[in-house]
């Protein structure tokens, strides 16, 4: 029995038979043998002759001659007889066969060890009743096991299970014992006689057909193997792994296999369309008004919050990892699934499990993808040069100043002060000023009108490039009984459309699990990521001056186009520049492109250690610690030749009587450096309990505690007149710069122009536990409880000790006796209810003030940033969920349906500050909101065809979500705040994330925009009553889903993924009206001639047009009757709230697996070539909506090669 101790724990307390041990042992050995590449070891020769030699002596001889040792239970030898044999250079296996042929022993060779086991005693051949035996083989998590072996014990008779794990055998003795086995599973013996007698056997369920047939289901248990914890059909919560059968919560899983057909570009792209209820980074809609709405990401058991600071606000980023390493993603959607995450669970949890080495031969995989996106600027929506020239003509014809006798003076003055930049307008002014003849004007305008989309053509030619992305991955894994090792390296190199924007990253993932003893496992892992990001600073689409489609980036003579200061700035400013010889204010876009590039160098590491102690079969303890460290260093050298530096230095040119002329800011490179230093640690201890009592009652439980700390630090520093070679810079006097007067061109300097620091610390201490009870694996009850404390919320005990909890129940209907299998092979009903929490990371319960230097007055100035809010607590979301899981036709069709109702309470809602209390401009957040989300999620997947050569799977998903604000105590103080900040002023009864607008009343007879005011009257001014502002739809889709297909034919796989979303709206921000811009010299707004939507060509032009168009007449700021309200009401009219429903072909791919006879010679196990088109097309309800949704972006073309060695 001593040997047994090596392989089983708790042996001394629970005796079990030798046979049991040997059987289990054999399975492990068999498994290992199958996977091992060790055929050559059997060819060792043995030479031995002897008569009636004790078996032990033979073993000694074998050991001496071959080096192979025997491994057996002493008791076995008692039944053996001495051996007589004569062998010369006999193969070891043949020799052993010969030696043991009369012995009650079997042997197996593993490595250099020969294992002996008891051979089954041959059953007496006796005439017995014959029966038909049939059934299904499943794993415990209800996965059918096709290929499982069903053998009649003691005979060679056996068959393999077919699709869906089904089998049938005719003419079987009714007292035979069936041995059912499958690689990786423990062998199950089924005594037919006992089954027939109606005895209950563990893991076996007789399904009654008739007396002559024994029809049953059998469940195989995976062989104990802690190194291979990822069970295919199970859910990982990060705290524990649950089988599909035992879970009561709403889980969804995405396995690596399902995103094999696409490029692994981002975590979102893996989930979009693959999880019902996941849409745009949100799980089951928005659950918070001011808190975090993104789900919590958990990688290999630890929450990873990749947040960073931007000013005072915390931004949530997706966690970094090598996407190729993902084995499986589990989405925890409801309370029973997620509430174990306590105060961060309300938005759902995305649990990522990465790959581990599998036992067997070393696994080496490599892949490369090359992605190409041709550059394109979509001009289809833009008014052309011709359209713009026509509008400029209309402007000239409608400008009252040109009709007055002083037209020439006016035109000259406008030209001298450069109030307008556009070539067309200047030509008109030149004409009125007398500088151009009518003919010259016409020629000029005609020339401009003919240039189409000249600017965008040159943009494509000189300033942009095609996107080219590369991604390479190599992974190596190896595992033995004692150790499993995995390493992967991913390198990405992305060249983006801006010529000087590119990024590179290298991710290295190391993971090792040591099986130190059979009761102690140690897992250590480290993920390291280096990034190097280049960011172009200059945006040729907003070059610092206004342009129109007829402008360009290149002159006719082939030199780069320059926008001269003299063409943009007033004569007075040019005088000042010339008089004091200030730096040139010219802008040459093509020269600026490469200047002032930003560079971010990042280093991220995330490491953990987990120690797993197995006290007994049913109790184990885990202690784990994770440390994360992210370090981003951003630097940008503003080149002294760039417009930015010239403009900045000029802004601090000063003339005073006392000091004369001087530059307060030295001319030279300006160097800005920003560092983000984030670290987090997580310490967790947990006890796991799993025990079955009286065969029927199973209890699993975990109890643990967790401590988390996240610290974010941000620092920015700017040095002036920086020399990147000598590393020197000039001291500048912030106080002087900030309080300077008499600046010739006017500049402002703030404390942050020298540097700034920010810091945020979040700490949590949590205690949690959950318990699951199951009766016969039929009836399930689960419950969880968690207490969280944090430095983020209030001192008031009202909330502090309120736990977050959940309860759940499940019913495996298919296990019931009354359930007749056949069509349905798995059917489960589950429901849950519970609370998840959510936090706002930058809220605090105290009255806090922030302090910064006041350069003008000296000393520090302080401002109250938040008023005391002792009642601040985490938000609580109550979620009820009911769902059905089913599998039909022997696993060919599977699916689930869920209904949920989430009710968020104590949501951090904004409340408008009281003006008289001094907070009129502020809204602050208190736990003062409620909202509900309810919805349905359906997933159905079917293997339509399953033959040797053909396989076709179709999967459809549908999710419906309806959000409603049910309580909030705030009302927008003014109508425009309702329009501009709908999320700060949600209305009870409407969804959160709504769009509000004025009701469109069509165009007036004069072509002016009209909306309905609160009384229902048509007005062309802004209705200021809040009642005139109405709900126009939600920004979040009410339904979403996907449709995907994968078709395999021999070595080819053709797949696509189509997603759809609808029921939501988007405000059209690309309107066919001209804007206006403030001009300080003109003392007001002038028409802004900038690129505008093409629909402007359909504008109202004459009475009667209002019947056919909704585009108002062009109204110019220069007209006396001009009112800004006209564009305001048009902007906010519901006619400009568009249906955002869309269908996107996210991915379409064709893969070809090279036949093995071709690649074997190159020592390649598998090779796949794949071609994808990403975002192939978008169908949207409206052309403008399509533009706003990015539907005109060109697709990505991806070539990929995937190799396995």
């Amino acid at each position: 029995m001593q040997i047994a101790a090596l392989f089983r724990s708790g042996a001394e307390r629970k005796p079990f038979t030798k046979t049991m041990f040997i059987m289990k042992f054999t399975v492990i050995v068999l498994l290992a043998t199958c996977l091992q590449v060790s055929a050559k070891v059997f060819s060792q020769p043995v030479t031995f002759s002897g008569t009636n030699v004790p078996l032990k002596t033979v073993f000694n001889v074998v050991k001496e001659q071959t080096g192979y040792v025997f491994f057996f239970d002493e008791a076995l030898l008692k039944k053996t007889k001495p051996v007589t044999i004569s062998a010369k250079n006999m193969q070891l296996t043949a020799f052993l066969k010969e030696v043991l042929k009369t012995q009650p022993l079997n042997f197996h060779i593993q490595g250099r060890t020969i294992f002996l086991s008891e051979a089954p005693v041959p059953v007496q051949a006796e005439q017995r009743a014959k029966v038909k035996v049939s059934g299904f083989v499943f794993s415990t998590d209800r996965t059918p096991l096709p290929g499982a072996n069903i053998q009649i014990k003691g005979t060679a008779i056996g068959i393999a299970a077919g699709d869906g794990g089904s089998f049938a055998m005719e003419h079987v003795d009714d007292n035979a014992i069936l041995q059912i086995s499958s690689v990786g599973y423990l062998v199950k013996e089924v005594a037919l006689a006992r089954l027939k007698a109606g005895n209950e056997l563990q893991d076996i369920k007789r399904l009654y057909v008739d007396e002559s047939t024994i029809h049953f289901e059998v469940m195989l248990t995976r062989s104990a193997d802690s190194l291979d914890a990822i069970v295919v059909n199970s859910y990982t919560t990060g705290y524990q792994t649950l089988s599909k059968e035992r879970a009561t919560g709403a889980f969804a899983t995405v396995t690596a296999g399902s995103f094999k057909q696409q490029r692994l570009s981002s975590l979102n792209s893996l989930l979009e369309g693959r999880v019902a209820g996941y849409n745009n980074g949100l799980i089951r809609g928005t659950t918070s008004m001011n808190g975090v709405t993104s789900p919590l990401y958990v990688i290999d058991g630890f929450p990873v919050e990749n947040s960073s600071l931007s000013g005072n606000s915390v931004i949530e980023n997706l966690p970094g990892l090598n996407l190729e390493d993902i084995e499986k993603i589990t989405i925890l959607k409801d309370a029973a699934a997620a509430s174990i995450y306590g105060a961060r669970a309300a938005n759902g949890v995305v649990v990522i499990v990465t790959k581990k080495a599998k036992k067997g031969k070393p696994q080496v995989n490599a892949s490369s993808t090359f992605t190409f996106q041709p550059y394109n600027f979509y001009t289809g929506r833009l008014a052309s040069a011709e359209d713009m020239v026509e509008i400029e003509k209309e402007w000239a014809a409608n400008n009252p100043n040109f009709q007055s006798p002083n037209a020439a003076t006016y035109a000259n003055s406008m030209l001298a002060n450069n109030i307008y930049y556009s070539q067309g307008v200047k030509a008109h002014l030149d004409y009125y000023a007398g500088n151009l003849s009518q003919q010259d004007l016409d020629t000029k305008l005609q020339q401009l009108a003919q240039s189409g989309y000249h600017f965008y053509d040159e943009l494509e030619q000189y300033a942009k490039r095609n996107v080219f992305l590369q991604q390479h991955n190599l992974s190596v894994a190896n595992a033995s009984d004692k150790n499993a090792f995995y390493v992967s390296v991913t390198y990405r190199h992305n060249a983006l459309e801006d010529k000087y924007s590119a990024n590179k990253s290298l991710g290295v993932n190391l993971r090792n699990t040591a099986h130190i003893t059979n009761w102690l496992d140690l897992e250590v892992s480290s993920y390291l990521q280096y990034t190097d990001k280049q960011e172009q600073y200059f945006n040729p689409l907003s070059p610092g001056y206004n342009y129109l489609p007829y402008d360009g980036l290149m002159n006719d003579d082939g030199s780069a186009y320059t926008s001269y200061a003299a063409s943009r700035l007033s004569a007075n400013t040019i005088n000042i520049i010339n008089q004091y010889k200030l730096y040139s204010m010219d802008i040459t876009p093509l020269d600026e492109l490469g200047l002032n590039r930003g560079n971010t160098k990042g280093f991220m590491s995330r490491s953990y250690a987990k120690l797993h102690v197995k006290f007994s079969k049913w109790l184990n303890y885990q202690v784990s610690f994770q440390y994360e460290n992210n370090n981003d260093r951003f630097s940008r050298l503003y080149d002294k030749n760039s417009y930015y530096v010239r403009n900045r230095v000029n802004a601090f040119a000063q003339y005073t009587a006392a000091n004369g002329f001087q530059y307060l800011l030295p001319y030279g490179h300006i160097f800005n450096r920003q560092t983000q230093l984030n670290n987090a640690y997580n310490f967790r201890q947990q006890l796991n309990f799993d025990k079955t009592f009286n065969r029927h009652h199973n209890i699993t439980a975990i109890v643990g505690s967790e401590t988390r700390n996240t610290k974010l630090e941000y620092n920015s520093q700017t040095q002036y007149n920086y020399d990147p070679d000598v590393l020197s810079y000039s001291m500048v006097n912030g106080a002087t710069l900030a309080s300077a007067t008499g600046l010739l061109l006017g500049g402002t300097f703030n404390a942050s122009d020298l540097g700034s620091d920010n810091e945020a610390i979040n700490r949590f201490v949590s205690f949690y536990g959950n318990i699951g009870y199951s009766y016969d694996d039929k009836y399930l009850l689960t419950g969880s409880l968690r207490w969280d404390r944090s430095n983020l919320w209030g001192t008031d005990s009202k909330y502090q000790d309120k736990p977050l909890w959940s309860i759940g129940a499940g019913w495996n209907i298919y296990k019931e006796d009354f359930f007749t299998p056949g069509l349905v092979t798995f059917l489960k009903l589950r429901s849950s209810y519970g609370i998840g929490g959510n936090i706002a990371k930058n809220s605090a319960p105290y009255m806090t003030a922030y302090y910064n230097p006041n350069f003008q007055l000296g000393g520090m100035q302080g401002s109250i940033s938040s008023r005391p809010n002792p009642l601040l607590s985490w938000e609580r979301t109550f979620t009820g969920n009911i769902g059905i899981d089913f599998v039909l036709y022997g696993n060919r069709v599977s699916g689930s349906v869920d209904y949920y109702n989430k009710h968020g309470k104590d949501l951090l809602a904004s409340t408008q500050g009281v003006p008289t209390e001094g907070w009129g401009y502020s809204t602050y957040t208190i736990n003062n909101g409620e909202m509900t989300n309810h919805g349905i999620e359906t997933t159905i997947s079917a293997d339509i065809i399953r033959t040797k050569d053909w396989k076709w799977n179709l999967t459809g998903m549908f999710a419906f979500n309806k959000n409603k604000v049910t309580y909030v105590n705030v009302e927008a103080p003014v109508y425009f705040l309702q329009l501009d900040y709908p999320d700060a002023f949600p209305r009870v009864g409407d969804p959160f994330n709504s769009i509000y607008s004025f009701r469109w009343a069509g165009l007036s007879e004069q072509g002016l925009a009209q909306v309905y005011d609160e009384k229902g009257a048509k007005v062309s001014n802004t209705p200021s009553a809040l009642e005139a502002v109405v709900y126009s739809g939600s920004k979040i889709p009410t339904y979403s889903g996907s449709f995907s297909s994968s078709l395999d034919f021999k070595n080819f796989t053709f797949a696509f993924l189509l997603t759809y979303e609808g029921g939501h709206r988007i405000r059209n921000t690309d309107l066919p009206i001209l804007g206006s811009q403030y001009n300080s010299l003109a003392g007001g707004y002038v028409t802004a001639f900038t690129p505008v939507n093409k629909l402007i060509t359909e504008r109202w032009r004459k009475a009667g047009d209002e019947a056919v168009t909704n585009v108002p007449k062009a109204s110019f700021a220069e007209s006396p009757g001009f009112s800004s309200a006209l564009s305001t009401i048009y902007n906010y009219a519901d006619v400009n709230v568009l249906d955002a429903g869309n269908i996107r072909l996210r991915n379409i791919s064709l893969a070809y697996n090279l036949p093995s006879y071709l690649i074997k010679k190159a020592f390649i196990e598998s090779a796949r070539l794949q071609f994808n088109v990403e975002n192939a097309f978008t169908i949207a309800a409206d052309k403008n909506a399509k533009y706003l949704l990015g539907g005109f972006n060109r697709p990505y073309y991806v070539w990929g090669i995937y190799l396995g060695f």
Partner: protein, 489 residues
């Protein structure tokens, strides 16, 4: 073979038994103990407060609040400036802001109450400053790291600051002070606490003036002669402010007493003639519109206390209407140094040629000189009044144009004094307050007229437009109290 392994297994078993025993027996209690100890240290662990922000505790923490100019030292009285037609506005800009247009064009038919959602700044800004000062008055006495004297000083400065903002409010949103009816007309809400949901009461105009005077009188003994910065209250600033308040109440005796107290502490005058001469080349260069350093900023020698107008940032001063520039005396160096006529397109205006900071909401010596002059004139000391006025004019008018002014009657003296004071207090609440005050006296009441777009517009001295409606946002979201409008359109 087997024998070779036996001892290993035996040893291993012994070890394992010991370990198992140990783990079961000790590990669980150790874990539990760890959990309990972590509970105990948990509170301290969670008390960490993120940096960058803090809970004010020391007096210095509270004193720093005073230096927050954006919150506490701004008096954006835009609508009054527009109503007075001092600053130039283009037609195009007015088209953008209907409320501005109504005030600028004296459109008595417009209901400003419905439009004033577009400019709430005078109200909101004053109350946010009042909130800060209330906060200081509530907490400074328990602040740490300070002597009682230092605490009293800060609290006195808070009282003065609060009173100055109430003065803006009562002169903008309530009717003009008239002794005959001040006790029966409502002013603005009086709030004395910074707490959420603090109660407030819309007191009468008389109560508000009394409150202001009491606050400042109470503060004076604790105020320093010299403030830490120019936004910190001093005795000089308090006396100057009292002089302003009493003059607004037409209490000439008290105004004069306080004006003298103030002038005893600072009577320096800025020499614009000097300034003009040092920048003459830039100013006189044709077609040149320079950016001269504003003399009227933090270091203006005339400052008692500094308060910004609309903006605390360095900027170009507001442009002036041509007809407003005409109301300056010929040869006024201050006009020449600050504005220069300019034509842009179809608009002609006086373009501002200084940039920097402007003490538009604080108090300067010139204003106190003018208060003193008016008080003397009212008390029939016309020569005395003219002496005080001429002292200022001497620093303003170029020598070529300067001649000391004399007046035959109080009324004549006061018209002279008004002319200079209007120029000196441009864009401030004082210019507006004075106009409202004079309008109540038929002797000095003035009807504005102008022609815009060929239309003659007038603003009568008794127009309802002289009182600004309280912003709708404040009336609708009144907090713990009620607010009623003092003007119905």
């Amino acid at each position: 073979m087997y024998g070779e392994y036996t001892w290993v297994f035996k040893l291993y078993m012994l070890f394992k038994k010991a370990v198992m025993k140990f783990t079961i027996k000790y590990t669980i209690p150790i874990i539990l103990l760890l959990m309990v100890t972590s509970l105990a240290s948990c509170k301290k662990y969670l008390d960490v407060i993120p940096k960058g922000r803090k809970i004010p505790t020391t007096l210095a923490d509270y004193e720093a609040l005073v230096r927050d100019e954006y919150t506490n030292h701004r008096a954006p009285v835009t609508q009054s400036v527009l109503l007075l037609n001092d600053r130039w506005e283009s037609q195009a800009n007015l088209n953008y802001y209907p409320l501005w247009k109504a005030n600028y064009y004296w459109d008595v038919n417009t209901n400003r109450i419905s439009l004033n959602t577009t400019d709430e700044s005078a109200y909101y800004t004053a109350y946010s400053a009042i909130s800060t000062f209330n906060l200081i008055l509530e907490h400074a006495s328990t602040a740490t790291d300070a002597t009682d004297e230092e605490k009293n000083t800060l609290m006195a400065q808070a009282r003065l600051g609060r009173a100055m903002h109430y003065f803006v409010l009562v002169n903008y949103y309530a009717d003009t002070y008239e002794a005959s009816n001040a006790a029966s007309k409502l002013s603005v809400p009086l709030i004395e606490s910074a707490d959420i949901d603090a109660p407030h009461k819309q007191v009468t105009i008389q109560e508000m003036y009394d409150y202001i005077i009491n606050n400042v009188t109470e503060a004076i003994p604790h105020l320093p002669e010299e403030g830490a910065t120019i936004v910190h209250g001093t005795k000089g600033a308090a006396y100057a402010f009292l002089a302003r308040v009493y003059l607004q109440m037409s209490n000439y005796d008290q105004a004069l007493i306080n004006a003298n107290e103030a002038l005893a502490r600072n009577d320096k005058l800025f020499d614009y003639v000097d300034y003009y001469n040092s920048y003459k080349a830039q100013i006189d260069q044709p077609d040149n519109y320079p950016s001269l350093p504003s003399p009227r900023g933090y270091d203006y020698v005339e400052n008692y206390i500094m308060m910004h107008g609309e903006s605390i940032y360095s900027r170009r001063e507001s442009h002036l209407r041509v007809d407003r520039a005409a109301r300056f005396e010929t040869g006024d160096a201050m006009l020449l140094c600050r504005w220069k006529p300019r034509v842009v397109g179809s608009e002609t205006y006086y373009y501002a040629i200084t940039t920097g900071y402007y003490n538009e909401g604080g108090i300067t010596t010139t204003e106190v000189y003018m208060i003193k002059a008016e008080c003397l004139a009212r008390k029939n000391d016309i020569d005395g009044a003219m002496d005080v006025l001429n002292a200022v004019r001497e620093k303003r008018i170029l020598p070529a144009h300067y001649a000391p002014l004399t007046a035959g009657t109080t009324q004549e003296a006061i018209e002279y004094i008004r002319r200079t004071k209007e120029n000196e207090t441009l864009f401030s609440i004082v210019a507006f307050g004075d106009m409202r005050r004079f309008n109540k006296d038929p002797l000095y009441a003035r009807t504005y007229t102008k022609t815009e777009n060929g239309e003659t517009l007038t603003l009568s001295p008794d127009s309802h437009m002289w009182t600004m409606p309280i912003p709708l946002g404040a009336v609708k979201n009144a907090g713990n109290g009620t607010i009623q409008q003092n003007v119905n359109q």
